[in-house]
Symmetry: C2
Subunit: 303 residues, 2 copies
């Protein structure tokens, strides 16, 4: 068995998950590990042990290995609170990295700051790294990036900067509606019905003010007309995304949107936009994250 | 101490509450009791004992006392499943009452059926009784009745019939958003800020598609600009109601809406409509309920 030793380590540490990559001399991925020990479940003094448990075998005990971390780990409830950059700004500014004080002197942990906007107030942590990664691979890009997730970000990018952005908590709404309202009795846990999704996209987009009524209709349809549970789930997904695409229309109506997110959610957004006549293309979430952290690492060491 | 014996008993038995009134010879209220033993917490065989516990002292042991009940107690998960009337229909049809089989022969329990609509699918249980009560007091009424609640009903009434209606689950959304999303960290438990409510009404009404973004903004504003927690709560309330008033506009734009609901919610709806240029007036929830059950009782005994 070959022992893997990292030149540096990339870490994407969010609210519910932690993902780490051992990076080699050629900026290549040597190994990947992940854990469910997200920021929300950890006390301040637990971050270092959790990180070490995941990456310790990748460390060369004779030197200090740099860890580049992004995500909610840099929030007030995280390991070290990392100040936000303010829009308009480059997504990653290597002068603004924050360093954690560690007990173990084999690691030096750097946090990428999040980005905030004053008016209208908005915040991101983690997505700025993916945007930096995408820009790094596409330096001449001017346009719109959409990062679907629990809190989806629609981001205007111009000349290498984040000029403005808008967050929609559609994913979190889907979660609480499907788990904590009477609709939970009428939908499946997973399963897909394309016609239901498409009908939901149209109705949500055309009549966003009726969302609270269209949601109740899913329950009523299941009682009155025995609505299929997969169809109900897909319609719910379509309705909420359709409402968001109404509110985000200024972002996508004249753009070929770059979508960076998990495969499933990215496909939903791509499809939703297509149904409404919008254009989009997918960019790999992992490539974006690693390219962004790699950019931050190189910048750090070029000074 | 005077012993109260009821001529008949009115019961409004919903998902979370049970309210009962002892009614006298002149259709006057002799006594009122309530309990938190709502439909959702009871097994099928528990309804009779719970009812008796509340009303037993009002019974004359030498005769059978009629109980007129409305609400979710008549649903599939309730005491006896009561079939729905279908729109267009009178709100209460005394030919369609359902009777519970009781062990105790001192009571005869009658359930008022709910009302359903096939297209678009919708259901109500309890509100039909309040509508019947309002119509009973205002026999020439033609117009719109709004019944705010967890599932608010907007109802078209014409010549004594419910012609169509639409349910908005805005109240339930307010509950899950304020208790189960990240917004819970940014809002007070109660408290009021009029400017926040009004701003929410306008923004929700004008930009319903941005609701998932405006919700996230409450959290971002609290982080970025230290938004006051009472203001956040009132803005949340205004935003969700504003979206509903957009979706319900065809109901209220040319009507003087009759609002029947709890005082707090009714005031919110009245205010929200006023802010948007709509007209409404409040009608007492208790009067509506008792007048409706009283109507059902009289009809029952006129046959």
């Amino acid at each position: 068995m070959i022992e893997i030793k990292a030149k540096w380590i990339a870490a994407d540490w969010g609210t519910t998950h932690m993902r780490a990559w051992a990076i080699g001399e050629e900026d290549n991925v040597l190994a990947f590990r992940e854990s469910n020990e997200g920021m929300k479940d950890l006390q301040q003094n637990e971050f270092e042990p959790v990180l070490l448990k995941l990456i310790e075998s990748w460390l060369d005990d004779t030197k200090v290995t740099t860890v580049m971390a992004c995500g909610m780990v840099g929030s007030k409830q995280g390991w070290v609170e990392t100040p936000y950059l303010k829009t308009p700004c480059v997504p990653i500014d290597n002068q603004q990295l924050t360093i954690a004080t560690t007990k173990d002197n084999r690691i030096k942990v750097n946090f990428v700051p999040g980005v905030m906007q004053n008016n209208s107030a908005d915040i991101m942590r983690g997505e700025e790294t993916q945007i930096a990664g995408f820009i790094n691979k596409n330096p001449d890009f001017n346009g719109v990036v959409c990062l679907p997730g629990t809190h989806t970000k629609w981001v205007n990018v111009k000349e290498g900067q984040i000029t403005s952005f808008k967050t929609f908590m559609t994913g979190e709404l889907f979660g609480v509606i499907s788990n904590h309202t009477l609709i939970r009795h009428s939908i499946s846990i997973k399963g897909w019905n394309q016609a239901g999704f498409e009908a939901g996209i149209h109705e949500g987009f055309n009549n966003p003010g009726s969302i609270a009524s269209n949601l109740f209709s899913l329950r009523a349809e299941s009682i009155v007309n025995d609505l299929d549970r997969d169809q109900a789930r897909s319609t719910l997904s379509g309705l909420l995304l359709g409402v968001e695409l109404n509110g985000a229309q200024t972002f996508w109506e004249n753009s070929n949107v770059i979508i960076i997110g998990s495969q499933l959610l990215s496909d939903n957004y791509h499809q939703g936009l297509k149904i409404l006549g919008g254009q989009s293309q997918l960019f790999s979430l992992e490539t974006a994250t690693l390219s962004g952290l790699s950019f931050a690492y190189r910048e750090l060491n070029s000074n």
